[in-house]
Homo-oligomer: 345 residues x 2
């Protein structure tokens, strides 16, 4: 707890230039931001964890999207969890844990309305509010329910299944009654994790052979719901094996995020017509109203011990860019987070 | 009217071989089929018109689809309209006009249950049951309503708009309250027809310049509903200009029907995600229950003089393959039909 009249300096990571292709350290800069005494209704938060996510790569480009592109020269915004150290708003008291979207910094000070107080659950590190208990878990839930209309017995294929959204989606699919859940990942260790820890019925290593050559044998019954985090070759392979009336929830296309040119799409889009498929792209923006429903179900599942998770934790605000770049290259299993400071309960 | 005990010979056009790429005359053969006396419950029909449609090209391939591929050595099935010349079933009497799916022949004899008696409307040639009053019109209606969820005020873009489904879809969109309706076609004459006869607000000639370079200027407000008959470059151009939450009804992909290899898809599928688009492929099979609703609305519109149409009529069963090939190359404006015999009212 600090005095509301104190000033503080904070380290922020900002976008220095729009990346062309794969981002490099030169595309980011570290800046010191000074905060003055708190104004009425403000809160000061010491971050514990900040999130690095695939969608951030898209926001580094200057393209039209649901969410505005990051401004060059501004802090990279995104999910973060921290503890309140000073407050002039009773609804967000000192000592409480908050999640917010102020992004890559060690300390942030802003209007109380931009922070959400979250409960400290038994056995749950606070970083999970950036993962399975937060936007990541909600993304899996929304994609499977509102977007893909999962029904009990459906065979579900999830690409990038060992990633944060993938491990969430796989478990949620099973808990919602999917028949079989199949995943793809990029190493033998991740493939093993999917079947041994996360309850996937089968998994493939997309580095072994083309996905198109592997997927059919794993799903002789065809796929009813495809949850796509990868795009490109994975989407093409899925279109080969979708059942009539299948639903594809397009959540991410990490395979193309760093393409400099435009990459051609799948060669089998005609299947969309002859099989009567529905492809729906989504971002969380239009579906945040499902957050309460999700939180209730996920909290129940978590308390019942039904939810496994992995985190890849990188220490230190100064390593945030490395964590982001590593995540883009698949260095994480489960959610990649940056620990800014140790949790003190 | 003929005696039910008589025999008759009929000319049928059959699939001789699966086409590789563009079909040729060698892929078809003309056969004489003999019908014996009518069995109980049978009907004999002299066809007046048979239909040639883009979807038929797909059925000539041996690929999985909602509808089974045509069998090599069997008659090409599809829409036809004829007059009953003999009947042993009271529900389908001699002299009545019927529509059916027995396809490319001058005479057909089959169970009464496979024929539908249709009314003879004032001012409507019976060939319209192969077009705007039949499956073609229903395809436009289903795509705009059940698939794309057209709402009043929507800007609608229709590719292949001067074709049979396109002219139907354009008019139905306007009658259902679309804000603006834009079309593409393949000649200056067709473009003029779209705006002058069919009520399109604007149209482009896709042979003038890449669709991608032309479409944006015609739809500064963006597109809410895209009705796709073409695929390929048209789908790619549409994905560039779709508004957030836009719906794409994928009805056909004539641009790729005769590709020998697999052709890459659009390079901008990422827009599906960032703009929250929904692409739904459809064939009529799952939507025939909307036929009665459609017939009621279309009959009303037609009687009120709200419906324009064009037909390209080719005479003679012996010219059916030429008509089909011409339609695939865009030789038709509106519905392409083959007249087997003159209407006698």
């Amino acid at each position: 707890m600090t005095d509301v009249t104190s000033t503080v300096t904070s380290t922020h990571i900002q976008l220095a230039a729009r990346p062309s292709g794969w981002p490099t350290h030169e595309d980011f800069r570290t800046t010191t931001v000074s905060y003055g005494p708190l104004e009425p209704g403000q809160v000061r938060v010491s971050n514990l964890y900040v999130s690095v996510d695939p969608y951030m790569r898209g926001r580094m480009n200057d393209v039209r999207s649901y969410t505005a592109p990051y401004a060059v020269g501004a802090t990279i915004t995104g999910g973060a969890v921290g503890r309140v150290t000073a407050s002039t708003d009773d609804s967000v008291p000192v000592g409480s844990v908050v999640s917010h979207q102020h992004g890559w910094s060690d300390i942030v000070q802003a209007d109380a309305s931009t922070f959400t107080v979250v409960p400290e659950l038994d056995g749950a590190p606070l970083s999970l509010y950036l993962g399975i208990l937060g936007m990541t878990g909600l993304t899996g839930y929304v994609g499977l329910t509102a977007i893909a209309g999962l029904t009990p017995g459906d065979t579900v294929f999830i690409s990038g299944a060992a990633g944060a959204v993938g491990t969430a989606a796989g478990q949620i699919a099973r808990l919602l009654g999917a028949g079989r859940v199949i995943g793809s990942a990029g190493s033998p260790e991740k493939v093993r994790l999917l079947t041994e820890k996360y309850g996937f019925d089968a998994a493939l290593d997309y580095k072994d052979a083309p996905v198109r050559d592997q997927l059919g044998a794993l799903v002789p019954e065809g796929v009813d719901v495809y949850f796509d985090n990868v795009g490109g070759d994975h989407l093409e392979a899925a279109l080969d094996v979708m059942n009539d009336g299948g639903r594809l929830a397009l959540c991410g296309a990490i395979s193309g995020y760093n393409d400099k040119g435009r990459t051609p799409g799948p060669d089998n889009l005609a299947n969309i017509i002859v099989r009567g498929l529905t492809l729906t792209g989504f971002t969380l923006g239009g579906h945040l109203h499902l957050g309460a429903e999700f939180a209730e179900r996920m909290t129940t599942w978590f308390a019942a011990g039904e939810i496994a998770y992995d985190e890849t934790v990188v220490d230190g605000i100064e390593n945030t860019v490395d964590a982001f770049l590593g995540m883009m290259r698949g260095a994480n299993t489960g959610k990649m987070v940056v620990r800014i400071a140790p949790e003190r309960r």
